[in-house]
Structures are given as structure tokens and as C-alpha cells.
């Protein structure tokens, strides 16, 4: 029984992490209909920024996390303004080729600068070890991830549903022409959203170094996971991808625990079956036109 809880707990932590990593992609791919396979590269950037700050410059871990967010968001906004925005109206093939090119470049560049081996971020002592909670061992680091990601998710939901910016974004996505007719600066909204999504990915990358492992091949290894979250979750709201990430996280942890020999096989099969059954995702309306 306790193992079941531990698996559930680890799965939830993993799923929340995936959500923070992928929710930027949920906006670009799900709402803006842009196939951005390079999303993992932004996460990797955040992870490496955090690693360099903590390990080499001696920053405290919690001070480095916001910096990881800012660095990825900055790179995101620069790339969006200079490159991405030219491709919003191009075919999916062009978008795929472009973002795969970016992935290749980021992989080789990080390999060149930081070396190809896996990087660990030195954690503060308070985050190591486990807490015993009614006989269930709970990792402190994972507990922190759940708290941070849970707060972020709630904040995101509030921003999207309650604020003026949220309604502007939803309007810009639903009908860019009508939105700009109403005086909404659509490109600005998109740029800001894109940058914010990249920043979240960067934060997720920094948080995930401990759990998923951080090396130059991160964008390629986890690309499929991000895509699963978005395509399975659908794009009508933020809840769809959130539930999909939780499902994916719990499923993956449970799969590795109970049927370790099947590896990622279970996840891929489930993804294909779901996509065949509901091409627009489990929750919500169509993402692709």
C-alpha cells in the first residue's frame, strides 16, 4: 500500500514537472498552431543556466531558479521576434524543419560549450532526503516540485481566466483579425506569451535536472513527452494539458515500477491509441486546423 502511495506521489511530482515544462508548448502548439519541436531547447537552456550559476558561481539554488526563467524567456523573446514570427503562417512541414534545425543547433552548441556528459545541480541540504509521512516516504525535493508547480498552475489558471491579459490572449488566439480590430496588439500578446512559455520551460528545465537528468540531448529525449502532453491534453484550456501531464507522469512512473522491461513502450502505445481514438486530444476542441 505504501509503495502505491509512493508511486502516486512520485508520479504526481513527475507529472507536474512535465506540465511546467510543456505548458508553454500548449500555447504555441495548441493555441497558436505552431509546431515548435524546439521547446525542449529552452528548457535545457534554463537547466544549464541554473547549473552554471549554482555549481560555478556559488549562487543559492532558489536564487538561480528565477534567473533560469529570465534567461530562457529572454532567449525566447529574441528568437520569437527575429525568427519564429515569420513562420506562423507557413506550412507545418516548414515549422517542423525549422524547429528541428534549432534543436540540432542547440544540442551541438551545448555539447560544445558544456561537454556531453550529464550535469548535476548541487542542491541545498534542506531539499535532500525524505520525510516520513504516516509511513510513506516522501522525497523533499519532489514535495518542493509539487508545491512550486502547483502554485504556478493555479497562478496560470487565474491569469488566463481572470485578468485582462488573459482575455486578450484568448481573444487573439480565437480570432487574430477580430482581436486586432478591437485594438489588441496581437503580435505583442503572442510574443509575450511565447516568452513566458519559454521562461516556464527554463524553470522546468532547472527543476528537472535532478529527476530527468540534464545533458545536451535533453531536447531530443523529451520532445515526445512534451508533444504527448499537448496533443493528448488538447488545447481548450490549461486543465487539459495539466490532466494529461499528471496521467503521463503517473503512468510512466507506474509503468517503470510494475513492468520495467516494457520501458517507454506503454506510453507510446497509449499515445497512439488515444490519438487514433480522439485525434483532437482527450480534453477539448480541435488544436489543428
Amino acid at each position: 500500500m505504501t509503495t502505491l502511495f509512493t508511486i502516486l506521489f512520485d508520479g504526481v511530482a513527475y507529472g507536474m514537472l512535465l506540465f511546467v515544462l510543456a505548458c508553454g508548448l500548449a500555447v504555441t502548439l495548441g493555441l497558436m498552431n505552431f509546431v515548435n519541436l524546439a521547446h525542449g531547447a529552452f528548457a535545457m537552456t534554463g537547466g544549464y543556466v541554473c547549473a552554471v550559476l549554482v555549481n560555478q558561481s556559488g549562487w543559492p539554488f532558489f536564487a538561480a531558479l528565477p534567473l533560469a526563467f529570465v534567461a530562457s524567456a529572454l532567449i525566447g523573446v529574441v528568437l520569437e521576434r527575429s525568427l519564429y514570427r515569420h513562420l506562423y503562417h507557413r506550412s507545418h512541414l516548414d515549422q517542423v524543419l525549422f524547429s528541428v534545425g534549432l534543436v540540432f543547433m542547440s544540442v551541438a552548441a551545448v555539447d560544445y560549450i558544456m561537454g556531453s556528459s550529464r550535469i548535476f545541480i548541487k542542491l541545498p541540504a534542506a531539499l535532500e532526503g525524505q520525510i516520513d509521512f504516516f509511513g510513506v516516504g516522501i522525497g523533499r525535493y519532489r514535495l518542493m516540485i509539487i508545491v512550486i508547480c502547483g502554485l504556478l498552475t493555479a497562478a496560470l489558471q487565474l491569469v488566463l481566466a481572470r485578468t485582462r491579459f488573459g482575455s486578450r490572449l484568448r481573444a487573439a488566439v480565437d480570432d487574430p483579425r477580430a482581436a486586432s480590430g478591437l485594438g489588441i496588439n496581437v503580435p505583442q500578446v503572442f510574443a509575450f506569451t511565447f516568452a513566458f512559455g519559454c521562461g516556464l520551460a527554463g524553470l522546468g528545465g532547472a527543476l528537472s535536472a535532478e529527476i530527468l537528468g540534464l545533458d545536451p540531448y535533453f531536447p531530443l529525449k523529451f520532445m515526445i513527452y512534451f508533444l504527448i502532453v499537448v496533443t493528448v491534453g488538447g488545447s481548450s484550456s490549461i486543465t487539459g494539458p495539466f490532466l494529461a501531464s499528471l496521467l503521463l507522469g503517473i503512468g510512466d512512473v507506474a509503468g517503470k515500477y510494475y513492468v520495467p522491461k516494457m520501458g517507454p513502450f506503454v506510453i507510446y502505445t497509449i499515445m497512439i491509441v488515444i490519438l487514433i481514438w480522439r485525434p483532437n486530444g482527450l480534453f477539448g476542441r480541435t488544436a489543428a486546423r
Binding site: V103, A108, A109, L220
Partner: protein, 343 residues
């Protein structure tokens, strides 16, 4: 029916062999004698060309974007390897066809998943299938050899006559012959009414269905055929290099393949062949430049190609050849145009 006659004349004139095509194949054959020390890399180019030809069939003619075409390459590669390793079919040509048929079967079964849904779903499903097969190959390591791959494959002489030599001369001619044969078949297919109907589907599936083309059946047929081609390419890979490892399924292989086709242009069959030559040369050049980090430059090429625009790039690339063709043949000659640009 003047309009009908016009359409068929146009189709027939496009299907006729152009002298530049003869020149292309004669040049390809001459390369074998021009660079006798480069058989291995030329074999590599020919294999890649066949693989790209396979993707061109579905991407250029039917408009199916696939992110996991390496799946069939891998199935072909492992089939050929297992057939040779366990001595089930020892004769390479027969083994090649058997491996191709295995890939065809996989292609046929998965085609039902692929034809459903729109672009994005197709991307995900094709990618998922390739990853799934990779995970399977890793899982059943007692059959596939796991991460080490299949080792100790020994190839018998082709048709019992030509033994593979260490310089790769026989391997090169073998691959080139297979490529030429399959190219002829592909050329016949894309210029047939079947091929024309595929183009109609690519341009507008709804209209194609409205004029009575069975869209799904045609897509299944061409996807299955493309799987056969990719399987043959994979089998050639195993037969000429005597190894098959997990990276035959890798995402990089599928992505590189797209780059090959993008360099060469889609929808006129030669795109994959030209693209394979250019891609391999670029790769050689970049690995000489920075041995470990050539992928960076490959990525840069992709980004630049997309930003400049694929079609514009091909117009630039074909500007000089077209000028020569016009000079030689007068204004009315058919110039070399990628299908995507053709009227």
C-alpha cells in the same frame, strides 16, 4: 473533348524521358569509375537516395508529412540482418525483397493509423510508431542484440556470383542497380493515372474525393509502397555494412531524411537523389570543419532553408540549368521545375 486531350498530352509529355535524365544516370554510373577510392561514401549516398525517394513518394506526391520514416528503414535493416544472421535466406537479392516485404507489411498495418487525422496527428503518430519500434527493438534484445546491435553478419555473394569486397565496389554497383530499378518503378507509378490522382489528393483532398478518387485507399497504397522502398533502403544498409543497430530507428535519421528531401526539392523524384549527394557532401565538409559538432551546421542549414523559403531556393538553384536548357532548346523547352512550382 479538347480539354481532356490537352490534359493527357501534358501528362504524357511530362512522363517522357528528358535528355537531362539520361545524362543524370550516365553521370551516376561514371562516378563509379571516376572515384574508385570513394566506394563506401558513394554507397552511402545511393542508400540515402533510395530512402529519400521513399519519403518523396509520400511527402512530395501524397502530402503526408512523416516524422518517423526511419521506422521502415529500421524494420528492413533488422529483417535483412536477421535473415542473414540465422541463415534463413542467404541469397542477398532474395533477402532484400523479403526484408522489403516485411517493411511493406508493417507499412500497410500502420497506414490505417496514419491516414486518420490531420497533419499534426500524423506527425505525432509517425513519430510515435518509430519510437515504439525502437523501444521494441531495445526490449527484445535477445533477438535484436539490444544496444550492441546485430553482430557477426556474413553476406553471401550476390546471386551466388559477386562476393562483397572490402573496398565496397560490389556493394556500390549492387545498390546503384537496386536504386535504378526502383527508380524506374517509381517513375512509372507517379506518371500513371494512379500517381496523378495522388497529386490531386495532395493539392486538395476534398475535391479529389468529389471527383471520385478513393482518397483513403490511394493514401494507404502509396504509404505501403513507400514503406517497401524504405525497407529496401534499410536492408541495403545492413547488407553493405554488415551491421544493424538501434540507431536505424532514431529520430535523427528521420529528421536528416527530411533535410535531404528539402535540399533536393519534393515532388519530382530526382529531389531525393540530388539532395542525398548534396547532404552527404555538406556532412563531409562540416565534419572536416568541426568533427564533433557537424550537427550544428546541419541545423543551421535547415533554419536558413526554411527562412529563405524552399521554393525560392529551388528557383535560384535551377536558374543556371534552366538558362542552359533554354539556350539549347529554344523558348518552348520544358525546363526543370520542382513539382511544387509547376503550373
Amino acid at each position: 473533348m479538347p480539354a481532356h486531350a490537352d490534359v493527357s498530352t501534358h501528362a504524357i509529355s511530362r512522363a517522357r524521358w528528358h535528355w537531362s535524365e539520361f545524362a543524370f544516370w550516365i553521370l551516376a554510373l561514371f562516378c563509379a569509375f571516376l572515384f574508385p577510392s570513394r566506394y563506401l561514401i558513394m554507397t552511402d549516398i545511393v542508400r540515402l537516395a533510395l530512402f529519400a525517394l521513399s519519403l518523396d513518394l509520400i511527402l512530395g506526391y501524397a502530402g503526408i508529412v512523416s516524422l518517423g520514416h526511419a521506422a521502415f528503414f529500421g524494420v528492413g535493416a533488422y529483417s535483412a540482418g536477421l535473415l542473414a544472421l540465422h541463415g534463413i535466406v542467404t541469397e542477398p537479392v532474395v533477402a532484400l525483397i523479403v526484408a522489403g516485404l516485411v517493411a511493406t507489411a508493417v507499412g500497410f498495418l500502420t497506414s490505417f493509423l496514419v491516414i486518420r487525422g490531420v497533419d499534426l496527428t500524423r506527425l505525432m503518430v509517425t513519430l510515435g510508431i518509430a519510437l515504439l519500434l525502437e523501444a521494441l527493438a531495445e526490449r527484445f534484445s535477445n533477438i535484436t542484440g539490444g544496444i550492441d546491435g546485430l553482430q557477426g553478419i556474413e553476406m553471401q555473394p550476390i546471386l551466388g556470383l559477386f562476393a562483397f569486397d572490402m573496398f565496397g565496389k560490389v556493394g556500390f554497383f549492387y545498390c546503384l542497380a537496386v536504386l535504378f530499378g526502383l527508380f524506374l518503378l517509381a517513375r512509372r507509378i507517379v506518371h500513371s493515372p494512379f500517381g496523378l490522382s495522388l497529386r490531386a489528393i495532395r493539392n486538395n483532398p476534398l475535391r479529389a474525393a468529389a471527383i471520385g478518387i478513393p482518397v483513403n485507399k490511394r493514401l494507404i497504397a502509396i504509404y505501403t509502397l513507400a514503406a517497401f522502398y524504405a525497407g529496401i533502403a534499410g536492408a541495403l544498409f545492413t547488407q553493405t555494412t554488415a551491421l544493424a543497430s538501434l540507431d536505424v530507428f532514431s529520430f535523427e535519421r528521420s529528421a536528416d531524411l527530411m533535410l535531404v528531401l528539402v535540399i533536393g526539392g519534393t515532388g519530382y523524384l530526382y529531389g531525393g537523389l540530388i539532395g542525398a549527394v548534396v547532404f552527404r557532401m555538406l556532412q563531409e565538409f562540416f565534419s572536416n570543419l568541426t568533427p564533433q559538432y557537424w550537427q550544428f551546421w546541419i541545423g543551421l542549414v535547415l533554419v536558413v532553408i526554411v527562412l529563405v523559403g524552399r521554393q525560392r531556393l529551388h528557383r535560384w538553384a535551377l536558374w543556371a540549368p534552366n538558362l542552359i536548357i533554354r539556350q539549347l532548346g529554344g523558348r518552348k523547352t520544358i525546363v526543370a521545375v520542382p513539382e511544387s512550382d509547376a503550373p
